[in-house]
Structure formats: structure tokens, C-alpha cells
């Protein structure tokens, strides 16, 4: 097995483990490259089927192309899609002008919390990776969140030899992270090899492309001429800049992501 096959195989093992352990399980789909790779891996794990419903948290601030792409793929691949949004907060005028972290908490974290409660999901597959940023670097494959949605990063279950702690006290839900050990470069190499359809926003137009996708007001494209997957891979091999440098919420303070993620952010 080459490196990509090994990564793929490890991820499929984890996806299958989660599907076996949790009756009520969903997969978070942000429309970005990572969660779309996760979706592809699930279809591989289950031989073309995706028996796990997808959840998209729509903040209403998403880049419009993302919604169009989401609906197109959902139809083509016959996916069960749940779209959640924190309507109450939106009615009260929540937006990035109220403070970026406040907005992320309300529209993303609380939006997700509402969907999880409504559908009583016990497990949630997500496409986060260790190399994205420091607090994600400390994550587990099976990572519990308590009834208040909180991540107790100081007391995480041991994971050895692919034996995961899958059962927790009542009220806990488990975030499952099958791509935790992948890098940004691995993701693009895999997209190339597997020919996975990826949203156009990642490819350069007029000298700029999105390297990481989020809400329009808080996401800035990078300077790039890469218009093919091969060119993106070449660009990443030579870059000196972190992946999430264009994500405004990460830069609010030194531990912004840790603070968001402790409260249940993705």
C-alpha cells in the first residue's frame, strides 16, 4: 500500500467503526474539500452507498456557490441532507459585526447544537485534521462532547491500537474524526487520485483562490494562479503560509480556536 492507500484504509476503518457503534449518526458536510473527501470515503466504505445522513450548518453568510454545489451533489449522489441554522439568532440580527467569535458560537456551534438535539444524534463524523491548527492537533479519533457540548481537552480517553472508547455517559455525543491524520497536501493528492468533484472556489480566478472555505465575510482568498488540482498540489509543496491564514476567526486572538472548540465548535 502506498501512503494514500494507507490513509484511506485507516479512515474507512474509523468510519465503519462509528457506523457500527452509533445507531443515530450523521456526517458534518461544510461543502469544503475535507468533508467532501470524507463523504467520498464513506461511499467507499459502504460500496457506493451513503447510509449516514449529512448535516450542513447554514449560517446564511456562506458563499452563494457553496449552496448551489451542495444541492447539486446531494441530488446526484442521492444523499440524505439535513440543513440546520440558528434561526432565532439570525432573527435577532446575529452577524460578524457582533464580534467574530460571538457569531461563530451562535451561528455555527449553537446551530449545530440545535440539529444534534432535534435528531438526537449520538455520533457526528467530521473532516477536521491535526495539521489545520494547534487545538485540533490535540484531538482524538473518537472525541466526546458533554451534554453542554463542551470538549474536556484536559481529560481525553486513551486511544491505542485502534481501540477507541465509543461508549460514554448519557447525554454525551461523540465527534468522530476519520481524517485526523491527513495533511492538506494528502487531501489534494487524494482528490486528484480519486477524481473527486470539488467546488470551483478552490481554483484561481483573476489571480486569487480560496484555500479554506467558510462564511463570506470572514474568509479571504489567497493570491494564487493554481487552476488545476496538480497546480494546487505544487503550490502547497512550496508554500510558507498556514492553511487557515484566510480565516478571520482564527486570528482574533492567540487561542481563538481553542476557545471556540472548547464550547463545541467544529
Amino acid at each position: 500500500m502506498d501512503q494514500l492507500e494507507k490513509l484511506e484504509s485507516e479512515s474507512i476503518f474509523i468510519i465503519r467503526e462509528a457506523y457500527q457503534k452509533y445507531k443515530k449518526i450523521a456526517m458534518l458536510w461544510s461543502i469544503g474539500k475535507d468533508s467532501t473527501v470524507l463523504l467520498h470515503l464513506a461511499r467507499k466504505a459502504f460500496y457506493g452507498h451513503c447510509p449516514i445522513p449529512l448535516v450542513h450548518i447554514d449560517t446564511t453568510y456562506k458563499i452563494p456557490e457553496m449552496i448551489a454545489y451542495r444541492d447539486k451533489i446531494a441530488q446526484e449522489w442521492n444523499l440524505k441532507l439535513v440543513v440546520g441554522s440558528n434561526d432565532q439568532a439570525l432573527q435577532n440580527g446575529m452577524g460578524p459585526d457582533k464580534g467574530r467569535l460571538t457569531c461563530c458560537n451562535a451561528l455555527k456551534t449553537e446551530g449545530l447544537q440545535q440539529v444534534m438535539a432535534q435528531y438526537e444524534f449520538q455520533g457526528l463524523l467530521m473532516g477536521i485534521r491535526r495539521d489545520e491548527e494547534g487545538s485540533r492537533g490535540k484531538e482524538r479519533y473518537f472525541s466526546p462532547r458533554n451534554a453542554d457540548f463542551e470538549w474536556n481537552y484536559k481529560e481525553q480517553p486513551p486511544e491505542l491500537w485502534n481501540q477507541f472508547q465509543t461508549e460514554f455517559p448519557e447525554g454525551t455525543h461523540v465527534r468522530v474524526h476519520p481524517l485526523l491524520h491527513w495533511t492538506e497536501l494528502n487531501v489534494w493528492q487524494y482528490i486528484l487520485r480519486e477524481n473527486i468533484p470539488i467546488i470551483d472556489l478552490y481554483f484561481a480566478k483573476n489571480g486569487r483562490r480560496y484555500r479554506s472555505l467558510g462564511c463570506a465575510p470572514c474568509t479571504t482568498p489567497i493570491t494564487s494562479e493554481a487552476i488545476t488540482i496538480e497546480e494546487i498540489i505544487e503550490e502547497l509543496k512550496n508554500t510558507n503560509v498556514t492553511e487557515r491564514s484566510g480565516r478571520a476567526q482564527d486570528q482574533v486572538d492567540a487561542y481563538a480556536m481553542q476557545k471556540l472548540r472548547v464550547r463545541g465548535y467544529m
Binding site: 501512503q3 461511499r43 466504505a45 480517553p157 491500537w161 503560509v241 498556514t242
Partner: protein, 443 residues
């Protein structure tokens, strides 16, 4: 080529995260803006550049200057790709250390030249031994604090060699270093000109990946069974050996025999002809035999051991001690059943190896040589023969509280052993045998 996993272990504050941070920075493995952000943060806090902050990203870790939890980062030398694993050195976080170290191909044991071999140095050595990690190098760090004295280095080498020998380990080399200043990481140190051996990066490039042996016995523990369409796909990860269409297989512990009908795949460029170790696979079988999660598929000629009395070595992490007579859950590959400790033969402290007097429990961070009795018979191997099916975890309630390896069969298992040696039966015969057994039980 797939990457090689290296774990850095050692006593708290001996410089593990600093060494990794420096290695990543010097090899250009982290983006400039991430290094710059750390540099700015250190300036704000009135500190020298802390390379450890590249890994110790949590606020508490940076404030206290210690690693709470394990993390891992990919990096590459001119030769190949690596995953480097940071493991906390503090006694409180041993379960995080084991999480990090459990799947490593090689380990670097770090020792502070000023402090020498300490409690966690010894404990981590014991853990490396139990995890079966054999490629071990020792780094004597912070040589700048002892004036780069060769005599200090030699003295620690002697003590460490002895400590490792006590747990039947031997280091492949000892490297003097001043990680904070990058000395002997990539660049040789002018202060350490008495040292003729390899630098850290040269040593890393000598490490060997632990390749699965081609002739290893075939073990496919069933993870799940899918019936999304007309097929009944048996899914799992091939832990060891190979499988092909037409292979005669036996499903353990039941002992049912059938053959592989097809290897399943979806959207693959080339058809699958052989399944190899490590692959997450799906197969269909020729006969509709009874299977469930936990069933172990093996090729006919190399059956696993089957039994419900196992002699094991356990490293205990639980907050409560492992107690004789109490019920626990054992997870071995995808097999899961209730178990209890039937006998405790030997208990010792994982650091100083001192033997405990009482043999009714294994306290936290002690190692126990124990006989386990499982409720259901398990299919397994000795750890030294097939590591993947020879190790397990123990759960106390919900919590993973210990890990261990199977070292032998308890005497009471002779019956199971003979079952293993007996000719595997055809499906119908097994059905009859089961029926007979249940009649016996009813008597």
C-alpha cells in the same frame, strides 16, 4: 512509500517538545507564519523563542511550559516522510503518552544531561518494551548546561544502558545534543567534536519501517456485515497476511469453513486481486455461514488460538486498581466480551520495577502478569507471533483503563488448544456440535 512513525518520550521537562519543534523548524516542515506567530507570542511574554510552542498549542501548555496531550506532525527529510509524535512526560498524563506511542515504529528516549535518568525515563522504557517497540535511540539533551562534557555523557550512557537492560531493551545509539540551539539535530555541534556518531536527522534516516511479513498468518476480524443491496458483504480490516478469491477460510471461534467468493470494491481503477495487511476490505463468502462482528477469518492452514483463559501482561492506567474477581470488558480487535482476573501472578512498578507484595490488585501505572478468564472464547495469537491479534485493551465501565499483550495460554485452556489443533469442521457439523454442547449444559 508510506511514512514511518517516531515517538519522542522521556521524563517531564527533558526537552521533548523543544526537540521536535526545532527539528520541524530546521527542516522547514512548518509554515513561516506559524513560526512567526510563536516568536511574537514569546516576545510578548518576555521569553526566548520556545520551539515547543509549535506543538504545545494549548493555552495551559504554553502558560505552564509542559505538554498535556500528545500530538503528531508529518515531516520529511531528504530521504523519506515521517510522522513525529510528541508524548507528554508528566506522570499524570501517561495515558496520553501511551496513546501517542502505541503505534510508533521507533522511539527516541530523551534524557536531560543535568538530571540524568529519572522516574519517567524508566517508566517510558518499560512502556516501550510492553508496546513492542524495538528501535530505540537515546538522546542526551541539554549538553550546553553541563559544559558539553564528554564525561557527563558517558556516565549517563552507563546508567541508561543498565536501566534499559533491566527491561530487556538495548538502545541502538546514544546522541549528545543541545536541542534548543539546534546542535546535533541537523547541524553538527562544534562544542561536541568528541562525538563521532550520527546527528539526529542522520539517525532518523537509518530507521526501518516495520513491514508486515508476507508469510504472516491471515487474520481478518469481522467489523460489520453490510446488506445494502443483493450482496452480503463481510467488512473488516485485514490485520495480518493476505487473502484471495478461492482461498479456503475458517471462521473462528466457531470453526466454520467456507471459501472467499469475491473481493469487493467501489470505483477502483484496477480490480483487486490480493488483499494485504492493513487494508480495510469487504469480501463475500461461498456459503451463508453464521458470522458476526468479532468473528476472525483465517486461512485454513494457519488457525489462531482459541480459548477463554489467557495469560497476559497488562499495563494498568485506570484510576481504580485492576482487582481480582471484578468484571471488566476486554476488546481484542473487533471482539468484545466480559472478563475477569482469575489470578495475578506478578505485579511490579513500571518505573523502579519493584515488586508489589499484594497479589489481589494491579495499581495505576503498575504492570501485572495476570490470567484473564473471558466470558466468550476469543480467537487470538501470542503477541510475539501476530502483534495485531495478540494485544487488547481492558475497559473499566466505559473507560479504557489498561492495555496488554497475550503471552500464553493458561493451563485451563488445554481444551481450547486441542480444539484449535482439531480439524476445522464443515458448517453443518459445527451446527451439530453446538447443539450437543448446549444439551450438555442443560444437564
Amino acid at each position: 512509500m508510506s511514512e514511518l512513525k517516531i515517538v519522542i518520550v522521556g521524563h517531564v521537562d527533558h526537552g521533548k517538545s523543544t526537540l521536535i519543534g526545532r527539528l520541524l523548524a530546521d527542516t522547514g516542515s512548518v509554515p513561516d507564519d506559524r513560526i512567526e506567530a510563536v516568536r511574537r507570542r514569546c516576545v510578548d511574554q518576555g521569553k526566548d523563542m520556545e520551539y515547543a510552542f509549535l506543538l504545545d498549542a494549548l493555552e495551559e501548555e504554553q502558560a505552564q511550559g509542559i505538554t498535556l496531550d500528545t500530538t503528531r506532525i508529518q515531516f520529511h527529510s531528504a530521504q523519506r516522510n515521517y510522522v513525529i509524535i510528541d508524548a507528554p512526560g508528566h506522570k499524570e498524563f501517561l495515558k496520553n503518552m501511551i496513546s501517542g506511542a502505541s503505534d510508533a515504529d521507533a522511539a527516541f528516549l530523551l534524557i536531560d544531561a543535568e538530571e540524568g535518568v529519572r522516574e519517567q525515563t524508566r517508566r517510558h522504557a518499560t512502556i516501550l518494551k510492553l508496546l513492542g517497540i524495538r528501535q530505540i535511540h537515546v538522546v542526551i539533551n541539554k549538553m550546553d548546561l553541563v559544559g558539553y562534557e564528554q564525561a557527563v555523557f558517558e556516565q549517563i550512557v552507563a546508567v541508561c544502558t543498565d536501566a534499559l537492560a533491566q527491561v530487556e531493551l538495548q538502545a541502538l545509539s546514544y546522541i549528545p545534543m543541545a536541542a534548543k540551539h539546534g546542535e546535533n539535530i541537523l547541524a553538527r555541534s562544534a562544542h561536541l567534536d568528541w562525538y563521532q556518531g550520527r546527528t539526529l536527522i542522520e539517525t532518523i534516516d537509518t530507521l526501518k519501517a516495520q513491514h508486515p511479513e508476507a508469510d504472516a498468518p491471515t487474520r481478518l476480524p469481522v467489523q460489520d456485515i453490510y446488506k445494502f443491496d443483493h450482496r452480503r458483504i463481510v467488512a473488516g480490516r485485514l490485520e495480518s497476511g493476505t487473502l484471495q478469491v478461492g482461498d479456503t477460510i475458517v471462521c473462528w471461534p466457531q470453526g466454520t469453513r467456507t471459501r472467499i467468493k469475491s473481493l469487493e470494491s467501489w470505483q477502483r481503477n484496477q480490480p483487486l486481486t490480493t488483499l494485504t495487511a492493513g487494508m480495510s476490505v469487504g469480501v463475500t463468502l461461498e456459503d451463508p455461514v453464521f458470522l458476526q462482528r468479532g468473528t476472525v477469518i483465517a486461512r485454513e492452514e494457519a488457525p489462531p488460538l482459541v480459548g477463554d483463559h489467557l495469560k497476559v501482561t497488562i499495563y494498568w492506567l485506570g484510576q481504580q486498581p485492576l482487582r481480582a474477581g471484578k468484571r471488566y470488558t476486554i476488546k481484542l480487535t473487533t471482539q468484545e466480551t466480559t472478563c475477569e482476573v482469575a489470578a495475578i501472578d506478578h505485579v511490579y512498578d513500571s518505573s523502579d520495577l519493584s515488586t508489589a507484595d499484594a497479589l489481589d490488585q494491579v495499581p495505576t501505572n503498575f504492570v501485572g502478569e495476570v490470567t484473564l478468564r473471558t466470558k466468550q472464547p476469543l480467537a487470538f495469537d501470542l503477541f510475539t507471533q501476530v502483534a495485531e491479534t495478540g494485544r487488547f485493551v481492558i475497559l473499566d465501565g466505559f473507560e479504557v483503563s489498561g492495555g496488554g499483550s497475550i503471552v500464553g495460554l493458561a493451563d485451563a485452556v488445554n481444551q481450547a488448544k486441542s480444539q484449535r489443533e482439531a480439524e476445522p469442521a464443515a458448517p453443518r457439523q459445527v451446527f451439530r456440535k453446538k447443539l450437543k454442547r448446549s444439551i450438555v449444559i442443560e444437564k
